[in-house]
Symmetry: C2
Subunit: 213 residues, 2 copies
Amino acid sequence: MSTRTSKPRRLSRRGDTRQILVDTALTMLDGDKSFDGLSLRELTREVGIVPTGFYRHFPDMDALGLALVDEAFRSLRKILEDVRQDTRSADRLVASVVKSLVRHIRAHRAGFAFIASERFGGSAVVRNAIRRELRLVQTELAVDLARLPYLKEWNTTDLHMIASLILNAMVASAIDILDVSARDREGETALMKRAEQHLRLILLGVPHWQSER
Amino acid sequence: MSTRTSKPRRLSRRGDTRQILVDTALTMLDGDKSFDGLSLRELTREVGIVPTGFYRHFPDMDALGLALVDEAFRSLRKILEDVRQDTRSADRLVASVVKSLVRHIRAHRAGFAFIASERFGGSAVVRNAIRRELRLVQTELAVDLARLPYLKEWNTTDLHMIASLILNAMVASAIDILDVSARDREGETALMKRAEQHLRLILLGVPHWQSER
DNA sequence: TATCCATGTCAACAACTGTTCACACTATTT
DNA sequence: AAATAGTGTGAACAGTTGTTGACATGGATA
């Protein structure tokens, strides 16, 4: 007993503490908290490490914010991939898109909630990162639309216009569903139906559109 | 010099300190802050009163939040009134709606930014208050739509469906415009054009809609 | 003129915040 | 077996936070 050895009882989470920090932060943000209301100390407390331990994995909270954006968009992109591989008729495709959306929302609640609430939230760093990612998604969607037979002739400006309208509608639907699905299964299917209707109504107008009247 | 009189130099803002608190809070929230990242102390510091003075006007921060929602929606409702009095043809009406929207956004930046960012933000109290107000606005819009000649026959469910699609598109446009108008006047008119196109595209689909296929 | 109420001030509290530094342990590589 | 890089600990710092209670002021009312 020469040196004060103290018993740290460290938990030795080999290499995944960083991921645990990300997941825990996302979970905490799912409830009544926004990112800039989340403190480093309550996060580390929840994870079970000492405050200073945070700095082993991130230089500061902004860096954590960016990691959260990364994590959240990973699942969002998965939806687009699913849809891309679906080569059904436009009408059946609508229902398929919405179903895929709901499935991903259920599986990645916290991630979607994060995007929704921080898209216009307090932290400029996070906000801009989200905006950048969404713009990318919109471009991808425009490219996908260009491949559809009856949109072949369209110019890119109009394609982007439709893409943004669709994306906005879907994001809005996602948020509504997100909000209700936790407690109300019946309301969820009602919102799904409405989301389908929104998409269908938009697509109804498309054939009648004429650019630059 | 019997009693320690101390020189309070109170500013005597007769009855409008409450309003100043609301306005200042909105202004502060316009920048890089979210409501639950806003502290009572920094607010009162900015306003120029001592922290405890806050409690003369609000029991707690939640109450302030509700007052902010109130204030922010006051201007949003003004838009609908403007539009309601406009009895032009559907096509010209679209342009008029967007122009009215932009005008109000410019005049009430902070209020719109608050609604946008706190709609899915951290505070449950504020979030629910906003959601309730938006639902009201949507209902009003549905009623307005019912008066349009070629929508007379529609059932209420479908009317609400359109109303929500339109409202979502407008809110999304408002937020985009809000974000860009501070620094980029050219980008603003581009976004206005896009907002008009979104509305027009939606309205194009409406005559072809058939309920319950 | 006297009183009263709305609005402000000041001091103090315990609790919480981000960040620093030097140190301890351990798994993997040398 | 020794060295190393990764990860967690503990104490300490100067600031900030929400909320309390008792007190001061001044304009309107009685």
